[in-house]
Amino acid sequence: MIKTFTRNDLVRYLYQETTIEENHLIKQALLTNDRLNEEYFELVKCKSEMEEVEEGPSSRCVNKVMDIAKNTHIKAKL
């Protein structure tokens, strides 16, 4: 039986909430359905633009976490 995918399924796929089996079927559907493929492309573009809005912690904060990771590691080994 051929499974038809809805546009909502594309959103689940975009955010990696589909199963491995569904992934395989969606990939096939994207290859054969131009409209679906076009919409998916639009969604991907927008998602990547959204990723630009993310903000990072200061390098001081990141370095502190790294120090903790190293020290905890050393203590765990002793």
Binding site: Y15, V53, P57, M66, T72
Partner: protein, 198 residues
Amino acid sequence: MEKHILSDSKLISLYRNGNDGAFEQLLNRHKSKIFTSIKLIVKDSAKAEDIFQDAFVKAIKTINSGKYNEEGKFLPWILRIAHNLSIDHFRKEKRYPTIILEDGSNVFDSLAFSEGMGSRKMDKEQFKKLKKHIYELPEHQKKVLIMRHFLDMSFKEIAERTNVSINTALGRMRYALLNLRKRLEQESIQYDKNFYPE
């Protein structure tokens, strides 16, 4: 040379076996997503950094004690730790976080432009425009977008929190992304017209 990308669980396993560089890679991979999620709740950079650090201390201790569950995924796990710590912060201050669930527009007030995030990142002007477009989305679309994209909640969790079906949550997310895309595209057409008058 092709760069081989290691999975989170591989990096954790390497770190547990003495490779600190593996942990650094893991930290750099997820730091922005985790920090942004915290800041969306606490809306203060200094506080967000404290919570970010506390979340990692918990994660580091769990990994080194051998209690980390290999089957779980690292990012949702640490985001849950960070989210709980952020909520605890409000409890201590006897305030209830309005977060974004009540008023999506407030959330983006706390997002600032971060410089030095790599050449792929957009410039200040583009960032402001994107923020403005997110502001202008219909409320229910904005909520789902923030909850899924920045708080990393699953569509099932979003559906439960907003009392709608999963399909409705998915539909709202889809419209939010497409609306955003349309607005950005319209803006770029307008920009072209200014440059090349008809």
